[in-house]
Symmetry: C2
Subunit: 432 residues, 2 copies
Amino acid sequence: MGKNLKVGIAGLGTVGAATARILIEKSGHLLARSGCNFELTSVCARDRSKDRGIDLSEFNWHDDPVALAASPDIDIFVELIGGEDGPALDAINAALDNGKHVVTANKALVATHGEMLAKKAESKNLAIGYESAVAGGIPVINAIRDSLAGNKVSRIFGILNGTCNYILTRMEKDRLSFADALTEAQSLGYAEADPTFDVAGNDTAHKLAILTSLAFGTKINLDAVYIEGIENITPEDIASAARLGYAIKLLGVALETDSGIEQRVHPTLVLRSALIAQVSGVTNAVAIDGDEVGEVLLVGAGAGGDATASAVIGDLIGIGFGQVRPVFGRPGSSMNPHVQARLRAHEGGYFIRLNVHDHPGAFAAIAARMAEQDISLEHIVQHHEDHDADSGRQSVTIITHETMEEHVRVALSAIREDGHIDNEPQMIRIER
Amino acid sequence: MGKNLKVGIAGLGTVGAATARILIEKSGHLLARSGCNFELTSVCARDRSKDRGIDLSEFNWHDDPVALAASPDIDIFVELIGGEDGPALDAINAALDNGKHVVTANKALVATHGEMLAKKAESKNLAIGYESAVAGGIPVINAIRDSLAGNKVSRIFGILNGTCNYILTRMEKDRLSFADALTEAQSLGYAEADPTFDVAGNDTAHKLAILTSLAFGTKINLDAVYIEGIENITPEDIASAARLGYAIKLLGVALETDSGIEQRVHPTLVLRSALIAQVSGVTNAVAIDGDEVGEVLLVGAGAGGDATASAVIGDLIGIGFGQVRPVFGRPGSSMNPHVQARLRAHEGGYFIRLNVHDHPGAFAAIAARMAEQDISLEHIVQHHEDHDADSGRQSVTIITHETMEEHVRVALSAIREDGHIDNEPQMIRIER
């Protein structure tokens, strides 16, 4: 009984293997939950002999994902190859051209080609599911697109990269350096051999660009995301922030301002009393500020084969229910233009940490330069334990009230020209 | 352009008025998001002249919700009257009998009549949306039914009543008594004049029974929920728990055990380092343990007109998308029987607080009685600050490792018979 839907999977890494396992081992559960028989018919991967923990020998093996995507053997094409162009994009295009629904975990591809693909899918009444592309198993795409769709979103922000959150958590808990925490994350499989894409913030930016489009109904604009990574955060920054009641997280933040939409990825101070500050290790979290619902926070596993496959299966079930709807919450043809806010106009509080030459009047002079720019200070603290007698420098930490970023930059230039500091000050935005 | 869907609302309290406002003021937004024109045509409320902040004079007013539900003026009937029987049930039956989709925020009605209504709706291919009935604006129903449907859920638990969470938060933060915190909650509109339904745990039980059915695919069984309220929690319990690293929350917990499904509502110790322990005030939170995804936690406003209306509107949009699916995640005709676990067989840790007669050997005798029942202790602490010289009693707090509830009860009886205590010991379950 039940509708039969044939599924092909291209890419059998941890997510692909877990998706195949669930389709095989839980067919009865999925039928009860969806009224559909999801029949895995075809797979595609480079290495046929690799042990994936399940027997896939009986399925149709393809060498070419494009051939799999176009094959009459499937109704739904699951793309788990990765890469924003190349075979993944060719295969998704082939699937849509041949009338197949698509499910993908490929955030880079969705962030880059989402609008084009949405238009193509919608013109053929096909679905593209990408719940697994953002925050792994957390059902954030469905939440924004369906459940919270009556809200006008003013801001969406979150911890979208488990690697960075793990590193920052370890730096906080045991005062590890960034380098040591990264090495540990690599040894545990939480960070790639080349970790740049994660720690520099690019992975977070891809996910944020997708969330922005969904939340604000605008075209995806990955190039408009301002990106800073966590490489320059020190255990001293984290300890200074903690003393003032803040944790440091790599956040992706998108919000509507008077001048347009601001998208930023950067290390951020959040109040330690806020729930998001308590989200530790590889866990992800997404907060949505809606005008009706207030703030909704969704927390869960942002990566891992099984958790990501959970979202892939959720998309398959949605397709099984006949759930074909605009890919980004409104038709691709009517997505609003993305008007980018001027980042220099960002208003917010700042955490500033300076290594100040230890001579009389320095403290007063710094405060005066801040006042000149109309920057009002919440805290200005000189930490005795950070005083370095050898270098004749001491650490001064400042928390500002809401101000303009350009004012802070002008004040810091003046402080530097005055000769109170000679290295680059640390400056981290605060999100409330 | 777009499909036209006519909506009737019965019940114009805060949720009904907010739903009407959103339909009127955000029609363009809803059309862009759903491709549907949701046209409010008809309303029903006792008092036509009451100021609800919006002009509803132009709509068809009905005195009888059943007449509204059956009216040819509507495609979707929104029930916001409340009450598990009576007009609400009559009107929903009339709506389904006349081929209308239903959206309701009525947890008591869904918990009591959900299965019957699901069968009726499914036989006519109609939807019943009840996202707003559990945890207000938090999209927990859709998350379990759709996004996480590939998971076998082992446990679902949460803070489902904002009144209780507000009271416990105030008792913790300022050591208020239960009575004082309740009075404050009433003065702020967070608790009813007769707060029994909330503080005794019944409201939480209704929501839990619905979540249990969705999570485990079983028939709703409200009678099988074990219920304890928060009336007997003291500031001393909360302070003792805090000293040992725990917070006290009123949780609804449902889990699968060897003997069946256990559903319980009671004050619960949770580790203060757990996110759910940080959920304060009127905020709600639901945690879902899935075999693929791990733990997902959803946090947000559990009550309030606008937040609840956000969920009502989400259900309307789902219906607009043609989303008609089994009401409880599987057809009403194939919901599994609810096999109730024996609660006495519950295994878990316990927090026990005793007022012990202060004489030599009492402490050792208590520990011995625990050991006789094979209860292994994580902590046993005598708090000096709780020593009461006048009464000759002191407070002893015990945290046990996992044990059986009946063993704890036997040990406490023996301690009482030994004459070490003469009042009822406090005993609170721990959830990890």
